[in-house]
């Protein structure tokens, strides 16, 4: 796709600078492979506190929902003749969700990767003494909010406090779902968006419209675009 862009192209300078730093620190991190380096370096830069996320450019988004199908295909693969291949892209299973509004505005909602971890803080499960993880934790490599199905008690506390409203309890077992996985370092929604509306960036909580619910984002967009006319 013409708009397939990598993290590096959006953060000119970061990789090189971070690369040097990483090498200086010990050099071993880069061999984690398959894109792990970018997460590690981003956090290494700020003493382990930085995460990456999917950023939506609402002015470029057309609401086509290709992102939903790309997310679903990657994160819910199918097995055919013992071989793993992309799923058929059922958007219900997608971690990024498109909400349409009238007057015309489309809001793609996805995990904001909140650095202060409200969802994890809300988890009442005692940290595992070995790992220090509750039933919800940041993936050590990607930083993605991850559920431990073995330990989750299905209390839905994480969903209750999710700022964007992304975390959705499974209808059967109430375990949290729909947290962005960042697709092992190459987010497929970013890669497949025909309009270049999505980018993979470092979390910056001071960005406009950061970590708001779709209704709140829509209200602001409609205000900006249509002068608040209802």
């Amino acid at each position: 796709m013409a708009h397939k862009e990598t993290l590096q192209t959006h953060q000119p300078g970061l990789s090189r600078r971070a690369f040097m730093k990483t090498v200086a620190v010990g050099g071993g991190i880069l061999v984690l492979g398959q894109g792990w380096d970018v997460f590690s370096v981003a956090r290494a830069q700020e003493g382990g506190a930085e995460y990456t996320m999917i950023l939506v450019d609402y002015s470029k988004c057309t609401g086509c929902r290709t992102c939903e199908t790309a997310c679903s295909s990657y994160n819910h693969p199918q097995e055919v003749g013992g071989e793993r291949m992309p799923g058929l892209g059922n958007p219900y299973l997608s971690n990024i969700k498109l909400y349409p509004y009238n007057p015309d505005a489309d809001v793609a909602a996805v995990c904001a990767m909140c650095p202060d971890n409200p969802c994890i803080e809300a988890c009442p499960v005692e940290p595992d003494p070995a790992t220090g993880y509750r039933a919800l934790y940041r993936h050590p490599e990607t930083g993605a909010v991850t559920s431990d199905p073995e330990r989750c008690i299905g209390c839905e506390s994480c969903a209750d406090v999710c700022r964007v409203g992304v975390i959705t309890p499974n209808p059967e077992n109430s375990r949290p779902e729909r947290m962005c996985t960042l697709c092992d370092g190459d987010p497929q929604c970013v890669a497949m968006c025909p309009f270049g509306a999505l980018t993979h960036v470092t979390v910056d909580t001071s960005r406009d419209l950061y970590a708001l619910k779709p209704d709140q984002v829509a209200e602001q967009l409609i205000g900006q675009w249509y002068g608040g006319v209802e």
């Binding site: 086509c64 929902r65 199908t69 892209g89 059922n90 025909p194 675009w225 249509y226 006319v229």
Partner: protein
């Protein structure tokens, strides 16, 4: 219900008279022979009305079908269209034994409704009967309910779009609905979704109104399986790559169909001044450059990389603050050039009003254009028009006419029946410029300078239709595309996409996709069989007199006119190529046999 590759295997049937909700199996044979969308809809319509020729389109027997295609709900680019199929309330043959004789009607809409129907588990929704009071349909996977919609009756589509989603409590429900025009049984009322997209033509909204069905809401969590995921995924990748080309998408993203407003005017093919002319000297005032000044954003249908629709806001004029999409080619021509209106905010207001009332803007532009011409020629006076000074280019008068039509108030009552009935009433030779075929008005394309379009209009099965195809091969292909649910803009805009459709379908439905090549022709012939049974003959396959008698006078194509000989020759060749009887236009036995349209099931 047993699903089979590419299909949920279930048709959802709702009878509004009895309140019965029934899920019936879709036969794999019908899926193989008619695929989906317009084709499968035609087959189901045929099955419902097999023993009821001349059924009243506004009666309980006439089914209203919402038909996605087999691509619906898969991420195949630009293939989410939902075809609404029913028996037309807006067409009639010149002679027939049946009082309510009419053609088949089909109109497809973009958006997200069809895919969602498939996510909920249905290959089609068939609504029959008539509710006693206004209702809407609530479909949430297996949960299907008929709910009260009394409080929404009378509400415009823009307001209802918001109110409906608020009642449903989840922005991710997909909805479609009618406005006051459909409720009031305006013959050319349409069905709207997302307050902007329409199953516009052929009175689908009128049939919905007769059923007292205000809207349909659907939400689903599933997805059908496919026959061969490897073939499908490979074909999908190829298809996506074929669209990843600025030569394919630039025009649609930057201009949408608005580009046609100047393009077709320059070619002498636009509908101008009630089709009297083909070139609008003020086309530039509504063209891309003028329109894009108020466009805010592009928006797309499900998995479409083209995003041809433009949402805009009027900022400077009495209509300042108006938010709506457009103008597109059809809406901008029928409420612009065809009425000699070049005031862009005025055209936008008229488009908004037409959509909000739920009117087919193509037919409404014809009706007003016809009345403007009759008024100019003094065949009718201001009193006939309830005091409206309906002169060419008059925005206020146009807005008032639209309102009267939607509410069937005064002159609007007669006008709500279309140009044919207006000409029947007005007489005085006005039939010569009543721009319809079989009662259905022409779209925004003139044919003085485009003879194949005359054949296209004359032979189309829902009455005049610019999307019928200008030759036999084109007609069969379009019938196939409409059955797949693929957008015509995408297949015509991306030359590489057409050849990939077979591969995608093979991945989705497997072996039966091998017979895809004959599906379009089968659908087209079954439609013709339906129409001939209602009494339509060659006498109905004609075009308005104007094209033969009044050459264009404006623009580079001044002088262009059709001759009757040319038209008749074209039609003779058409019936011969179709293997149809040249007088009754009924498909010949050998043709029906070859297409498998034989046996008790198809006996007329």
């Amino acid at each position: 219900m047993t699903s089979f590759p590419g299909y949920t295997g279930t048709i959802l049937n709702i009878d509004l008279s009895s309140g019965r909700i029934e899920k019936t199996p879709l036969s794999p044979e019908d899926a193989a022979n008619f695929i989906g969308g317009r084709g499968l809809g035609m087959k189901i319509l045929w099955d419902h009305l097999k023993d009821k020729p001349g059924a009243d389109p506004l009666g309980p027997d006439n089914p209203l079908l919402f038909m996605p295609g087999p691509f619906s709900g898969f991420p195949a680019p630009s293939s989410s269209r939902t075809c609404v199929v029913t028996k037309s309330p807006h067409t009639a043959p010149s002679e027939s034994p049946y009082e309510h004789a009419s053609t088949v009607s089909y109109a497809n809409m973009g958006g997200f409704f069809g895919p969602e129907l498939r996510f909920a588990g249905y290959d089609g929704l068939v609504v029959t009967g008539q509710a006693e009071s206004p209702v809407y349909l609530y479909i949430d996977d297996d949960t299907v309910e008929i709910r009260d919609a009394s409080e929404y009756w009378g509400m415009g589509t823009d307001e209802f779009d918001k109110a409906f989603l608020e009642e449903l409590g989840d922005q991710r429900f997909r909805t479609c609905y009618i406005g006051p025009a459909g409720e009031n049984l305006v013959e050319y009322a349409c069905i709207i979704n997302t307050a902007a997209r329409a199953a516009g033509r052929g009175g689908t909204g009128c049939v919905m109104g007769a059923k007292k069905l205000k809207g349909v809401a659907v939400r689903g969590t599933g997805q059908p399986g496919v026959a061969d995921p490897q073939i499908f995924v490979a074909a999908l990748e190829e298809a996506r790559e074929s669209f990843d080309n600025p030569e394919v998408y630039d025009l649609w993203r930057n201009a949408g169909t608005t580009f046609g407003l100047e393009h077709f005017s320059n070619q002498g093919r636009q509908a101008v001044r009630n089709f009297r002319e083909g070139t609008f000297t003020e086309a530039h005032k509504l063209g891309v450059e003028a329109s894009m000044k108020h466009w805010v954003r592009s928006f797309a249908c499900y998995c479409c990389p083209l995003a041809c629709k433009k949402s805009g806001m009027v900022t400077q004029s009495p209509f300042s603050g108006l938010i709506h999409d457009g103008p597109e080619y059809e809406t901008g021509t029928m409420l612009g050039a065809n009425l000699m209106i070049s005031d862009l905010p005025g055209v936008m207001k008229a488009i908004y009003q037409g959509d909000d009332y739920g009117l087919d803007i193509i037919s409404v532009g014809n009706v007003i254009g016809f009345l403007m011409e009759a008024y100019e020629k003094q065949l009718i006076d201001q009193e006939f028009l309830d005091g409206i000074d309906l002169t060419w280019g008059n925005v206020e008068a146009t807005l008032e006419m639209i309102r009267k039509i939607a509410l069937r108030e005064g002159v609007g009552d007669l006008a709500s029946k279309g140009v044919k009935e207006l000409a029947d009433e007005i007489g005085q030779g006005s039939h010569a410029f009543a721009m319809h075929v079989k009662g259905h008005e022409l779209a925004a394309h003139n044919c003085h300078a485009n003879p194949p379009r005359a054949m296209c209009y004359a032979t189309a099965h829902r009455g005049a239709c610019h999307l019928n195809g200008d030759d036999v091969a084109g007609q069969n292909f379009i019938a196939l595309a409409d059955s797949l649910g693929v957008c015509l803009f995408a297949v015509f805009g991306n030359q590489q996409y057409g050849p990939l459709l077979g591969k995608l379908l093979a991945g989705i439905m497997g072996e039966p996709a091998g017979n895809m090549g004959e599906v379009g022709e089968r659908v087209y012939n079954l439609e013709r069989l339906f129409n001939t049974r209602e009494g339509f003959t060659r006498a109905d396959d004609t075009i308005p007199e104007r094209f033969f008698t009044e050459p264009l006078t404006v623009g580079e194509h001044a002088g262009a006119v059709l001759t009757r000989e040319q038209f008749q020759t074209m039609m003779d060749e058409f019936y011969a190529e179709r293997d149809w009887d040249p007088e009754t236009t009924r498909p010949n036995a050998a043709k029906l046999e070859a297409l498998g349209l034989v046996g008790e099931e198809y006996r007329v």
